[in-house]
């Protein structure tokens, strides 16, 4: 399947999803409201800490506002674009992989493309824009190229997480039901709940070179806040590149091994 056909599948799916959302306007507003409440609660959380303790690891209030914005954006990217990879084991375990393998498209890619929910991305994008505007109003420097670079970085961190998820999901080729592994990947999200500069050094290293979650929320926020300059960008990018390459290789290796071990539904 070439790029044109891939794009066609993506656009058709996008149209279906958007038409479905337009049908439920009340849900649209409720969804936005719930997201705003979630983000507002965390902004209040950081505000209360700053009022009581004056300093939260050197992070200013505007930086923490944009930090919450990035948390939502990362969630939107993962849930909107890559949710198909998170439960790929279901394809393997239920035999749906047979159908996917018989099609002229990579089974992994089709699982991801067919589960794209653009609404998650649109909602998160809107909320991120709103919180960026709020942070700028509170004194954060407005630097569009830096914001764009930070978003791209966050996107690549999401790809790395997707590759990790796929790698772990392939264990289903041997173990069958691995729903608990899905939960295990979910526990990683707790680490992005606070600025990762507050974690011990060993964990910071793990989340930079091993599972590059540092680039999902913390590093982009530091970059937009001006605490990391363009000159300091190179070394972390090398780290992200190494990590991405590692997970690409890992998932490809396990995918091929898994396909050899795959006996299809019912053997």
């Amino acid at each position: 399947m070439d790029l044109a056909q891939l794009s066609e599948v993506f656009i058709v799916n996008l149209g279906i999803q958007l038409r479905a959302r337009v049908q439920w306007r009340l849900s649209f507003f409720l969804d936005m409201l719930v997201t705003a409440i979630w983000m507002g609660i965390y902004v209040l959380f950081w505000r209360i800490l700053l009022v009581n303790f004056l300093s939260v690891g050197g992070w200013t209030f505007p930086s923490l506002v944009i930090f919450v914005g990035f948390q939502e954006l990362t969630y939107g990217i993962n849930a909107g674009l890559f949710s198909g990879a998170m439960r790929f084991w279901v394809y393997i375990n239920t035999g749906r992989l047979d159908v996917a393998l018989a099609r002229p498209m990579d089974a992994r890619l089709s699982a991801i493309l067919l589960n794209i929910d653009p609404w998650q991305l649109i909602r998160s994008g809107l909320m991120f824009t709103l919180f960026t505007a709020l942070a700028v109003k509170l004194g954060l420097p407005f630097n569009p190229p830096a914001i764009l670079a930070a978003i791209i970085l966050s996107f690549f961190a999401a790809i790395a997480k997707t590759l990790l998820a796929l790698t772990i999901n392939y264990i289903a080729f041997w173990w069958g039901n691995v729903d608990f592994l899905h939960e295990l990947i979910g526990t990683l999200d707790h680490f992005t709940g606070i600025p990762m500069t507050m974690l011990p050094n060993i964990l910071q290293l793990l989340f930079t070179l091993g599972i590059p979650l540092m680039f999902a929320v913390t590093f982009p926020t530091l970059f937009i806040s001006g605490k990391v300059s363009w000159n300091d960008f190179g070394l972390p990018l090398v780290g992200l590149g190494i990590s991405l390459s590692f997970w690409v290789a890992c998932q490809e290796y396990l995918w091929r091994k898994g396909l050899k071990a795959y006996e299809s539904f019912g053997g």
Binding site: V34, L49, N52, D179
Partner: protein, 278 residues
């Protein structure tokens, strides 16, 4: 009529006890069957506690504000808070009410002398009992290690009492949200928003004493603090009998108010319910 009411009450209690007994075994089998899943889900608690510990270690290392708290206090607080939240989350109550009303299964309960509430309460109580045993098995050793000098019988009595009060209130509140399905069909969004507000209102994210005084006063007078903050407070340090009596009084008033509300809303809802065959 009185004879009928008495027989219905007797059937309710009997159904409740039977459901508890049956559900305890069902849930124990469920946990045993899906042991890996249960253990990994439980992994959320230490991970969340660790993340908050790192956050507070950073904040308390600087201690530039007026409030002085020890890292051990905060560690202890979050262990208790996340355990309570994880083990006693009652969102399923709302989901079951919504499902029964929206899909019409409630009819099956209305034609029997055993109210739906008895079955649901029985199911929840059985989960409580299992979770309470797990909680105490985890908490006892942790507390012996972290706050051993401050442990007292009064603290443990207060903890268990506040836990029961909190669970009773949670059950009523989640039931009330679920009962709204009589009018608005789907309430999943409401319960999700409610859970988010509860992150702050119950004291899960932050001890309530850190809130600005006006907000603290509002939250102190609402029932939500009994879900997490008040039970945790009982094990955070020495408590006085006077304080405990005050909490029991406030708790009993809230439980009475909520039970009456559930009863009224249930009656009002059932009177307009139109299921299959009604």
């Amino acid at each position: 009529m009185k004879v009928l009411e008495a027989s219905v009450t007797q059937a309710t209690v009997s159904a409740w006890l039977t459901t508890i007994w049956a559900s305890v075994w069902v849930y124990l089998k469920h946990y045993a069957t899906y042991l890996q899943s249960t253990l990994v889900k439980f992994l959320n608690v230490p991970v969340q506690v660790a993340v908050y510990y790192f956050l507070w270690s950073t904040i308390l290392a600087q201690q530039t504000g007026n409030i002085h708290i020890s890292p051990a206090y905060m560690l202890n607080y979050y262990i208790l808070a996340f355990l309570l939240r994880w083990l006693f989350s009652l969102r399923s109550v709302t989901e079951n009410y919504e499902k029964a009303i929206y899909e019409g299964n409630l009819v099956n309960y209305l034609v029997r002398p055993m109210p739906f509430v008895a079955f649901e309460l029985g199911r929840v109580t059985s989960v409580y009992l299992i979770n309470l045993v797990v909680t105490l098995a985890i908490l006892m050793p942790i507390h012996l290690f972290l706050v051993a000098p401050r442990l007292s019988l009064l603290s443990w009595t207060g903890f268990i009492l506040m836990l029961v009060f909190g669970l009773a209130m949670q059950y009523c509140i989640y039931s009330l949200i679920g009962l709204a399905s009589f009018w608005v069909e789907r309430v999943f969004g409401v319960v999700y928003a409610f859970d988010l507000v509860m992150l702050l209102a119950t004291g899960l994210l932050l001890p309530l004493e850190l809130f600005p005084p006006p907000l603290y006063q509002i939250l102190y007078n609402l029932p939500f603090r009994f879900f997490v903050y008040t039970p945790v407070l009982c094990l955070q340090g020495p408590i006085t009998p006077g304080w405990l009596i005050e909490q029991i009084s406030i708790g009993l008033v809230w439980i009475a108010v909520l039970v009456i509300l559930v009863h009224l809303v249930w009656k009002k809802g059932v009177s307009r319910f139109s299921g299959y065959g009604i």
